[in-house]
């Protein structure tokens, strides 16, 4: 069984939350970075909603994954592209779903190889819990607690929607 979860309230929540964090920290010129592929779609939307003049960056974390020694290299790796210097910048790192936190760790390692940012704010559309590392998002669209037979997946880019599946256990 597949159901859809309306994405718009989650995006609204992210936008409001981010504006709030940026204001509290006094950040006026952040740079957005999305993690491929879902995070890039969300970063694209947030970049427009926040009215940032600069293009957002795209990260492919395949070269930084901590499971390379078990599964080998991701065959569909594509080049990361950051059109700005991360050195000294306030970064908003965006992903669609956070679970173990390992993707975010890899992404932060990669960002630091481009230069030392002033700060990183983490925004994720959905938080599924099940963390394995001490990494928490600053802003979340929605927290979901799934049963083992349930799956959630962001599909896109057009139309961008959240698919909610029950595997029938």
């Amino acid at each position: 069984m597949t159901a859809l979860l309306d994405i718009n309230p989650l995006l609204d929540e992210l936008e409001t939350g981010l504006r709030d964090v940026l204001e509290r920290r006094g950040i006026d010129n952040p740079a957005l970075i999305g993690i491929r592929t879902g995070g890039v779609w969300i970063a694209d939307i947030l970049n427009k909603r926040l009215g940032l003049k600069q293009d957002f960056g795209e990260l492919d974390i395949s070269f930084y994954r901590d499971d390379f020694s078990r599964i080998g290299l991701n065959p569909t790796v594509t080049p990361s592209s950051l059109a700005f210097d991360t050195e000294g910048r306030d970064i908003i790192l965006v992903d669609d779903v956070i679970m173990s936190g390992r993707t975010i760790r890899a992404a932060m390692n990669e960002i630091f190889d481009y230069g030392r940012p002033a700060s990183i704010i983490l925004a994720t559309l959905i938080d599924l819990g099940a963390r394995e590392l001490p990494i928490q998002p600053d802003v979340v669209g929605k927290v979901l607690e799934l049963e083992t037979y349930q799956r959630v997946k962001l599909r896109g880019p057009e139309p961008l929607h959240i698919e909610f599946q029950e595997t029938g256990q």
């Binding site: 930084y64 599964i71 065959p75 592209s81 990669e110 190889d113």
Partner: protein, 339 residues
Amino acid sequence: MTAIDPSPNHLQLTRGGQLRHFLTLDGLNRELLTDILDTADSFIEVGERSIKKVPLLRGRTVVNLFFESSTRTRSTFELAAKRLSADVLNLDISTSATSKGESLSDTLLNLEAMASDMFVVRHSQSGAPHFIAESVTPGVAIINAGDGRHAHPTQAMLDMLTIRQHKGSFAGLKVAIVGDILHSRVARSQIRALNELGAEEVRVIAPGTLLPRDVEDLGCTVEYDMARGMKDLDVVIMLRLQKERMEGALLPSEREFYRLYGLNQDKLALAKPDCIVMHPGPINRGVEIESAVADGPQSVILNQVTNGIAIRMAVMSMAMGGQMAERQQKQLEREGGRA
């Protein structure tokens, strides 16, 4: 990373079709070759960062085993391994253990006992890397950095990457390889790659004495006259005249060779106006190529060198990934067998 018929006999591939050694382009299909090129594209981007290093091979040991001297290939393999965060050991075997009488197998087994994960092998004997992968140290990933007259697969792949960068794709391309085909392992690998990737025509241009017998069987057309051969070319690849491999009188003289087969501006003008000029290096200026061409606007010779690092990073990480995935699989099978 699927490839044709990933049978267990296929030495280079795991049962899942992942690369685990890189010995030859024979048997690797277009999809896998394209995967290598795509992965290399991502590594080119890494080379442009402030920190040109990724942690993929952190804690792994790569040994450069050069039984035959080389500067460019060895140093780009070394840089590639270092940019993947591996520990690198460079051994110039011709001047070390073997001169004390140790056999090749013993040298390799000793290196394996030092927990090496990958050997990059250059050898004057065709088939040496294949032999090592099959019989000596099968648990170590073997990368062929040139063996005898047989193959030089990373050189051919960096050439393919350079062609794709400048021409977009291989469809419809007419490519010529000029010069000493007979002694060239590079030419063999290039012809194979160009055919697999779908180039329209691969031409070899050389005097009969510098062509192997039945050269057409490799998948190319033959042209003895350079002026005719340059017509309609999109890519011209010059080969180095391998003086150190010349045995007997294959050539009247270097001057004669240059007059007939050397690439100068007049001959280049016979090709398409956007024809690119390639050379695997080292260049013999005035023997196979004129300086004005080698340094000219159509030359992509230095791009080839930069691309060499990215291609070697791609092949090393893919082969190491395949080896480790395979070790993991065997471990699971052993555990499954006990349960």
